[in-house]
């Protein structure tokens, strides 16, 4: 299988002089669920933005083979003046679909994320978890093949986060997505992904790669197993090592 996306010795320096990435290289295969883990400021979000095309590398190449991608931000990033339906409809609307034409697809997506009945609610009236679900529904309504997620559950409480973790995994499987998931939580990275890419401190590069060898579907019960703990420990140690190594 050709790589769905690939970073090849990418450097990124911003106009402010900050060098976010130095020699970052990795590949993600089609339909993989890969987590990008690292300390604050290591350039994880920058990697995502480069993949999405919102920014360009200063050196090196970013290759994306997937046809369509969607981006989920840290904040739900919903339009506060529009209701849930209009928010989810937005990408289709920009693409030229009328409200009537998009109705079925939006309804299906909302159902998939569990927001049926909230079509006419406004974001201000929703809880944090529900807003994030709406954001994901919007991301999925275009039926992308690549899903980029930037610490989407960071602001939520543990129970909601747990539920969304499981829901995300089922959406991944159901829609045959490739997912690149940025997080700073070791536990979350281990629970969700097939591979964890550990980034070093700034300027960032991929310092280590840990394969999580556990079958899907993963259940909350697995979280308390020894296997999980071992994986988590391995990833933690890699993260420690990567964070210490700041000399470039």
């Amino acid at each position: 299988m050709a790589a769905a996306l690939e970073l090849d010795a990418v450097d990124k320096t911003f106009a402010t002089g900050v060098q976010a990435l130095a020699g970052a290289s990795f590949a993600v295969q089609s339909r993989e669920f890969v987590a990008l883990l690292g300390p604050s400021g290591c350039g994880k979000s920058t990697v995502l933005r480069l993949v999405a095309g919102l920014d360009a590398p200063s050196r090196g190449a970013v290759r994306v083979a997937e046809a369509s991608l969607s981006y989920v931000f840290q904040e739900p990033t919903l339009m506060p003046w529009a209701d849930v339906f209009d928010n989810v409809w937005l990408p289709l609307r920009i693409g030229g679909l009328s409200r009537a034409e998009a109705r079925a697809r939006v309804a299906t997506r909302l159902d998939a994320v569990g927001l049926t009945g909230f079509e006419h609610a406004f974001p201000a009236e929703l809880s944090g978890g529900m807003k994030m679900r709406a954001s994901i529904a919007r991301a999925l309504v275009t039926q992308p093949s690549l899903l980029l997620m930037d610490e989407p559950f960071g602001a939520l409480d543990e129970i909601t986060r747990g539920r969304l973790n499981d829901d995300l995994l089922s959406w991944w499987q159901a829609n045959q997505l490739t997912v690149l998931f940025v997080t700073h939580s070791v536990l979350e990275a281990v629970y969700l992904s097939q591979r964890v890419l550990v980034m070093s401190a700034r300027p960032g590069c991929v310092a280590a790669e840990i394969v999580i060898d556990a079958p899907y579907p993963r259940s909350p019960a697995w979280r308390t197993s020894v296997h999980y703990a071992q994986n988590a420990r391995a990833v933690s140690e890699a993260l420690e090592a990567a964070s210490v190594d700041q000399v470039r």
Binding site: L54, F73, P80, A82, F122, P123, A124
Partner: protein
């Protein structure tokens, strides 16, 4: 809304207002103050009713100038704000002029404008416009820039056209700021219209409340001055209420400034 909340919201200001009026009437009566020094509210009211015919025509003229100027200020302010938001160069070039317009006292400009402009009504409109224009411009510029950067990225990712971006992102983002500017400008337009007419004077048929006030002052008809002033105040209150309702209608469900459940 609960009864208590309604009482608090409407009852309290009304009670305070009635109280002040009653006090005023009492003070005048008890001290036997002459009507040409401080007329009692009852006198002002009777004068208002007696002269309602001529006062009403003047009132309508002032309202026309106020809302005409406000409309022009809104249109001009939004268009210019859009230009500023699109091009920093344009903004840097024109912003100093906008500031100059804002700080120059209308009392000084009004007679000058009257020299250059033939129609008195046009001159008054221009004066009121100058006063009302800046808050709308400045607030809308901020509003257009206030769009969530993540949403901006999303629109970029979805490959939205500039027109789509304007319609679906920038305009709704700017709306609360524009409304805030409009609320400020509403009152200012009224002040501008009245002050301009005061200093520049209006002529003959095209006269508003300021001319009535002046005329009453020159003819020592003090209760009539007060009656005209009452109408000016009523207009100001009406403008305030209208824009409050407008704001609630447009922003009610979603903007922090209008959400009642946050109280």
């Amino acid at each position: 809304m609960s009864i208590a909340a309604r009482l608090r919201d409407y009852g309290l200001p009304l009670a305070a207002f009635v109280g002040v009026i009653a006090l005023w009437e009492a003070v005048v009566r008890v001290n036997g103050i002459a009507q040409y020094i401080l007329p009692a509210p009852s006198r002002v009211l009777s004068t208002l009713i007696e002269n309602f015919g001529s006062l009403a025509t003047a009132w309508w003229f002032t309202i026309k100038i106020t809302f005409g100027a406000l409309l022009l200020a809104a249109v001009g302010g939004v268009l210019l704000a859009a230009a500023f938001a699109l091009s920093r160069t344009v903004e840097r070039a024109l912003f100093p002029f906008a500031i100059v317009l804002q700080v120059t006292p209308i009392v000084a400009i009004a007679p000058l404008i009257l020299i250059y402009v033939d129609s008195t009504t046009a001159a008054l409109l221009i004066c009121a416009w100058i006063v009302a224009f800046f808050p709308i411009l400045s607030n809308t510029v901020i509003g257009l820039r206030a769009a969530d950067p993540n949403l901006r990225d999303l629109f970029h990712l979805y490959r939205a056209t500039p027109w789509q971006r304007l319609r679906l992102l920038l305009v709704p983002s700017a709306l609360p700021y524009f409304i805030a500017g409009l609320k400020i400008s509403g009152g200012l337009a009224l002040i501008g219209a009245v002050v301009a007419e005061f200093t520049a004077g209006a002529a003959g048929r095209e006269t508003g409340l300021a001319s009535r006030i002046l005329e009453a002052s020159f003819r020592t008809e003090i209760p009539k001055m007060y009656a005209a002033l009452v109408l000016v105040s009523l207009t100001g209150v009406a403008i305030f209420l209208v824009f409050n309702v407008l704001s609630r209608w447009l922003l009610g469900r979603w903007h922090a400034t209008e959400r009642r459940d946050l109280e």
